[in-house]
């Protein structure tokens, strides 16, 4: 597994600067949680790492070398909306096969799809299903399997549980933790839900208005926040506690 490093990355859309010289490292085999309110630039940071957002200055490195932003990316991303992240006209198997490297034989392809589906705790027979036949949580698992199919060094998970029911969210979070343990994946886990980040991340970075305001081991940042904004976030995580 590899380390993903953001080095003074800025992203500007027109006159609006979304990210200001953000530096952040996702160490090999670790999960870094990225928290902050919506619109603060979390998704932009992830999208920049796969070439979906143009960086104005700075660099994004994979093990010290610029991360490729064309062709099959060594950094893969899983998106928030399970209803938009799978092509409704392609079967689960076809979606996953598209991300497989090389030109595997039919048989290799099928066994690899089955392996990946098992890995995300889905029945391999699901490969023939269309996304319309799956629930939100099952779709999100397929999206994860597709990302894994590309043999990525790093996975970016952008709010992958926020569109899911709490009953399903737990299953997806358990899966993420299993995969870190079994595959040693490096992961940037983006969420606005602090309890969720706390559960899966080793490190936590807090993004506020396009700048990283605090960064450190999860237990420290969430247990003993140093920046005012982090405290503010933590207080919001228990809505109205002082009210009642």
């Amino acid at each position: 597994m590899s380390a993903l490093t953001f080095h003074e990355v800025s992203v500007r859309y027109g006159a609006h600067t979304v990210l200001h010289e953000v530096s952040l490292e996702v160490p090999a085999g670790r999960t870094v949680g990225l928290v902050g309110e919506s619109g603060c630039g979390k998704s932009t940071l992830a999208r920049a790492a796969v070439g979906l957002a143009p960086i104005t200055s700075g660099s994004i490195l994979l093990d010290g070398r610029p991360v490729p932003t064309r062709g099959r990316r060594p950094v893969q991303m899983v998106f928030q909306d399970p209803y938009s992240s799978l092509d409704p006209r392609m079967t689960v198997g076809e979606s996953i096969a598209e991300a497989l490297p090389g030109r595997p034989s039919r048989q290799d392809r099928q066994s690899e799809i089955a392996r990946l589906l098992t890995l995300v705790h889905l029945d391999p027979a699901r490969a023939a299903d269309l996304p319309g036949q799956l629930s939100g949580g099952q779709r999100q698992r397929v999206a994860l399997a597709r990302a894994l199919a590309a043999r990525p060094q790093v996975i970016l998970a952008d709010e992958i549980t926020s569109a899911l029911d709490v009953s399903v969210q737990g299953a997806v979070l358990n899966l993420i933790r299993d995969m870190r343990r079994d595959l040693g994946l490096s992961m940037l886990f983006i969420s606005h839900n602090l309890a969720v980040v706390r559960y899966v991340a080793d490190h936590v970075a807090v993004l506020h208005a396009g700048r990283i305001v605090e960064h450190g081991p999860a237990a420290r940042v969430l247990g003993d926040p140093r920046h005012d904004y982090t405290r503010h976030l933590l207080a919001s995580a228990h809505p109205l506690k002082e009210h009642t």
């Binding site: 990316r73 893969q76 092509d87 299953a171 919001s236 995580a237 809505p239």
Partner: protein, 600 residues
């Protein structure tokens, strides 16, 4: 093929089949007749032998009309194909060529679309020269801009989807992206549009040939036949009208077929007759909302959807009641019923359903409720009309329900925006909904509810689309509003922690029923229903044990079309036994479970 169930669709498809049959077999079946010269019958009128007469060589016109179908249809289809291919290429330009070049193409297309189509056709027809080929090119080219614009819009919509981004990251190239992901997902509307375009092209061709710019002798299409027949129009009108009628029928065939498919399947699902009505009951005292045995049934493609299956509850004056449950458990439908927003074909039944003393089962209830009920939904973008400024939209409420004048109503709108803590309310009131952030829109929506004096606020997932800090502000605002106005609150959320923090009492819904009802403060520790316990355990909080996997609820929620007998939770319940699977547990003492409180 559901379009075929509509009379328009059937007419279109039958007509189209006839037209295509004539095009395919016309020359074979009637070709000889159409060329047989009958010198005894030059320019004859209609007769038993020649239904619509003959031409100047005595050839049978009816046969010629049938034979001409092939050329007419082929030319129309060729022109449509040209327009479609060009349109697709131009429409896909931004995707294939990159942003900058693509924008140039799009701008040019927009200019061309603004030109009158007929002008373009005539221009190109002159450029490409007289004749069938030139006319096909002209009609095709002239049709391309409109096609390009349609394709551009459709492609832009598909390109925004995450699966396109995911495919790009997986290394899928542009051409393959177009073929695998984009075209299949825009094919349906494009084909529908092409069908209608073919109908229009047919008319245009007839026009061109009629003007002498299209098909030239000795070939003939319908337009050419019309031109030939024109000379004798006063003596033998049918000679010109016959091919004209053919053009109209064929054009109709294409258009009706296209339209029927464009309109999509019409819902023809109907509910089976209602079961026996629930015995009428009286609303609970001192309650602002009271429902007894509320049932909501929605017609669905696979049979009636039993979204709410007998729910009884009440909300006291000033009380805050939360509703939790997985998606599809009937929370939103309950909210819509309470807000009086469900209309036939959705069926709402209840012993009683009363809000602020108004019987919601009687017609016109929503209007009579006036401003005593305020409703806040998950996505306020869909609740505001995007084309109107926010202030006047709020003012509208007071003008409609309270009869205030324009100015007074607007002043109240500004005041209410201030009350929901929107900074600089005078300026904000003059802005459009899209200029508001998500949290601000949500507050404005609450502000709209406060234009009157609500006794009950129904809020369905009001904070789900918002992030923590904004979510907290909205919840605080709701709390403040309740303190100031004494309004009661029905708060629906799938987020157990939001509900426990804001509400006094919680209803837990599963498969269209309330399975447990308990004080909010007891939700975490004192829940007795296995489902409630599982739901609470599944949510990580800041104290969750990091060394153990999160609890999950196995299996899938119940399909509301096919609710099992007995307890609906049984397939997922660790305590289920045969009794559970056959006998549905009633809600008794606040819980609907045969083994309430038992440890798993």
């Amino acid at each position: 093929m559901r379009a075929l169930r509509r009379p328009v669709g059937v007419t279109g498809v039958v007509l189209l089949a006839l037209v295509l049959f004539a095009a395919a077999f016309g020359p074979v079946l009637w070709g000889e007749r159409a060329t047989a010269v009958d010198t005894a019958n030059l320019l004859a009128g209609p007769s038993a032998e020649h239904w619509i007469g003959t031409d100047n060589l005595g050839r049978d016109l009816f046969a010629r009309v049938l034979v001409a179908a092939r050329l007419s249809i082929l030319l129309a289809l060729a022109a449509t194909a040209i327009a479609m291919v060009l349109g697709l290429l131009l429409g896909a330009a931004p995707m294939l060529l990159g942003r900058r070049l693509g924008r140039l193409v799009t701008a040019s297309v927009n200019v061309l679309v603004a030109f009158p189509g007929l002008l373009l056709v005539l221009f190109f027809a002159v450029v490409f020269g007289v004749g069938a080929r030139g006319a096909a090119l002209a009609v095709g080219l002239a049709g391309a801009p409109a096609f390009a614009r349609l394709c551009h819009t459709l492609i832009a919509g598909v390109s925004e989807r995450d699966y396109v981004a995911a495919a790009r990251i997986a290394g899928v190239g542009r051409a393959r992206m177009l073929r695998r992901h984009v075209l299949p997902n825009i094919a349906e509307p494009v084909i529908v549009y092409a069908t209608m375009t073919a109908g229009a092209a047919l008319l245009t061709f007839a026009g061109l040939s009629f003007l002498g710019l299209g098909v030239q002798a000795p070939d003939y299409d319908w337009g050419k036949l019309m031109q030939d027949g024109l000379n004798g129009i006063y003596v033998h009108p049918l000679a010109a009208l016959g091919p004209g009628i053919a053009v109209v029928l064929a054009g109709l065939a294409f258009n009706l077929t296209g339209e029927a498919f464009a309109a999509g399947p019409r819902r023809t699902h109907v509910l089976p007759p209602a079961g026996p009505p629930s015995p009428a009951t009286a609303p609970a005292r001192n309650s602002v909302l009271s429902a007894d045995d509320l049932r909501v049934t929605i017609p669905g493609p696979n049979g009636p959807i039993h979204a709410v299956r007998g729910v009884s509850f009440s909300v006291g004056d000033g009380e805050a009641v939360g509703v939790v449950g997985e998606s599809g458990s009937g929370k939103s439908v309950t909210a819509l019923a309470v807000a009086g927003l469900l209309e036939p074909p959705v069926r709402v039944q209840a012993g009683h359903l009363a809000v602020a003393g108004e019987d919601l089962l009687a017609p016109g209830a929503h209007r009579r409720l006036g401003t005593s009920l305020a409703v806040v939904f998950q996505d306020p973008m869909t609740s505001f009309n995007p084309a109107h400024r926010v202030g006047p939209q709020l003012a509208e409420v007071s003008r409609f329900h309270q009869g205030l004048g324009r100015r007074a109503a607007f002043a109240r709108a500004v005041d209410r925006l201030r009350a929901v803590r929107i900074g600089d309310p005078e300026r904000r009131a003059r802005q459009y909904p899209f200029e508001f952030s998500g949290g601000m829109r949500q507050r404005a929506m609450i502000g709209m509810g406060l234009m009157g004096e609500p006794r009950l606020i129904v809020a369905d997932e009001p904070t789900t689309a918002l992030d923590v800090t904004v979510q907290r502000q909205v919840l605080e605002l709701l709390a403040d509003v309740r303190r100031d106005t004494g309004a009661a609150l029905l708060l629906i959320s799938h987020d157990v922690s939001v509900v426990t923090d804001v509400c006094d009492r919680v209803l837990v819904m599963y498969a269209g029923r309330v399975v447990e009802e308990l004080p909010a403060k007891d939700l975490r520790a004192l829940a007795r229903h296995p489902y409630t316990r599982a739901l609470v355990a599944a949510v990580p909080d800041m104290e969750t044990d990091l060394d153990r996997p999160l609890a999950v609820i196995p299996g899938l929620p119940v399909d509301p079309v096919d609710v099992p007998a007995g307890c609906a939770f049984a397939p997922r319940c660790p305590l289920a036994d045969d009794h559970c699977r056959t006998v549905a547990p009633p809600l008794r003492d606040g819980v609907a479970c045969h083994k309430a409180g038992e440890a798993p």
